[in-house]
Assembly symmetry: C2
Homo-oligomer: 290 residues x 2
């Protein structure tokens, strides 16, 4: 059997064809332009294969409620051309196979939980900090979803008293994403993060905000592993600051694994968490039908 995975991001799509064991046989990257164009290229890639199912991890917000009229749509994205795009229906018409649909970060959390850094655990938390902040979780073996999908990057954190950057989230100004994503770092310090590697103050402040967010995620979700990816987290020195502030904040109130270095880690799949998770979604779509 062959499975298709699509990691649909705001700047690029990654498509892959894999087998039942999650081995990737073919893989392609497609720039995210207009839906007709991008989906056309997705079709060109997959049509050479006899796929049994497709797993789709998409940028959002998306409608994941199967009872909704707009199930499978990308909804209120700032990317005009993709707004109200019927993603699942379009793919169903093209490929006539079962499709499983969730957010890109949910797919990444699933990938990490099955074959990545949380392999063997039935619970994990995955967050990417890059141009935005998104997070997904696996709880008791399943992707966490509810009335809609989580939007964990937008939680409220407390501003550092000496940080006067006002925040740049369009909806919440200084929510976590608004003060800690890549664009916030650039706006605050006047340079992109990768040019600021030597400036310890940058990463100390970043660790301060990430630790606050993690405190809330831990107290609410109690994940068995925390996986932090995305461009910003390539500055590995952040981890040390996160551990320091998180210990200070939690103040031994909850029993976490003693060595935080083994609890809060980088992705086991590097930048492939999302596409591997999307493939696993496709496999699960078939397993559920049987």
């Amino acid at each position: 059997m062959l499975f298709g995975g699509i990691e649909a991001g705001g700047t690029k799509f990654v498509c892959a064809v894999g087998d039942r064991d999650g081995n990737i046989m073919e893989r392609i990257q497609i720039p995210t332009t207009k839906p007709t164009e991008t989906i056309g290229k997705v079709h060109d890639f997959f049509k050479e294969f006899k796929l049994n199912a497709i797993g789709l991890g998409s940028f959002g917000p998306i409608d994941i409620n199967p009872l909704s009229d707009t199930y499978g749509y990308i909804t209120s994205t700032p990317k005009q051309e993709w707004r109200n795009f019927p993603f699942v229906n379009t793919l169903k018409e093209l490929f006539q196979v079962p499709i499983r649909f969730t957010t890109d970060v949910n797919a990444a959390a699933l990938g990490e939980s099955i074959v990545g850094a949380a392999k063997g655990l039935d619970s994990c938390f995955y967050m990417t900090i890059g141009t935005g902040i998104g997070a997904g979780a696996v709880v008791q073996g399943k992707i966490l979803e509810g009335v809609t999908h989580p939007e964990m990057g937008h939680i409220l954190v407390r501003r550092h008293p000496e940080d006067h950057f006002k925040g740049n989230c369009l909806y919440h100004s200084d929510c976590f994403e608004g003060i800690a994503a890549g664009p916030a770092i650039e706006a605050r310090w006047g340079e992109k993060g990768n040019k600021l590697a030597e400036n310890e103050e940058v990463w100390k402040l970043e660790g301060y905000y990430i630790a606050q967010a993690l405190m809330n995620y831990i107290l609410i979700l109690s994940p068995k592993k925390i996986i932090l990816g995305g461009g910003v987290m390539n500055q590995k020195q952040i981890f040390t600051h996160v551990h320091f502030y998180l210990n200070q904040l939690l103040n031994d109130y909850v029993s976490l694994p003693e060595i935080l270095e083994n609890y809060i880690v980088s992705p086991g799949l590097n930048d492939r968490s999302g596409i591997v998770g999307s493939l696993i979604l496709a496999i699960q779509a078939i397993e559920e039908i049987k």
Copy 2:
């Protein structure tokens, strides 16, 4: 078949005997004093019945990891005499039946999800605001647990700029519980909450903090129903302030049920969420064995 439920609170235990449909046949309240004394009375009550299983929702923190040496213990509670009390083992020896163990708020969330305000939904969030703040969640039909049980009352919220009360959480000073639980209200305003019913400022501020916490719970868990109980929430005017601030904070970023009055509600089981949930735990313990 007969089932036993125990809602073990810090000031009182509620014990009940019920049938497979969750009907409560006998019920008793026991003050929480010393373990030998309180458990003795629990034994006296239950020994008249031939129980098939016991469900136990306990105050905490507790150890819920079945692989741990201290599984089934109450762990680091400030109540000295209950610290390191082997709760599950003690009951197992007395009654020789399967026991299912979780936190009191997790049990309450389960009760509300099966027969309470979230009946028919596979997801809900339950929070009690009283002498402390505790919350539990049901996710895809199961109680949310992970590396340990959640401690959602201790998340960080932002202080209101005009609120100068320093907070009274022993671990985190001004976490959510430290500034919004009953004792914080009393310490800030100099009187118990039930004497402050007419003082709108009190409940406006309380709603401000609860809305912030709910924003984080919603963005992280995406629950299908939010249930707010406990003594403080008997001041029903809080709900109006919570709706107001929550709308302001979320700023239409997530699609919630349009009428917040139907989404954020009081317990369907009044003060029986915990004991009913404990009984359901007992029923589930048997269903899982079969």
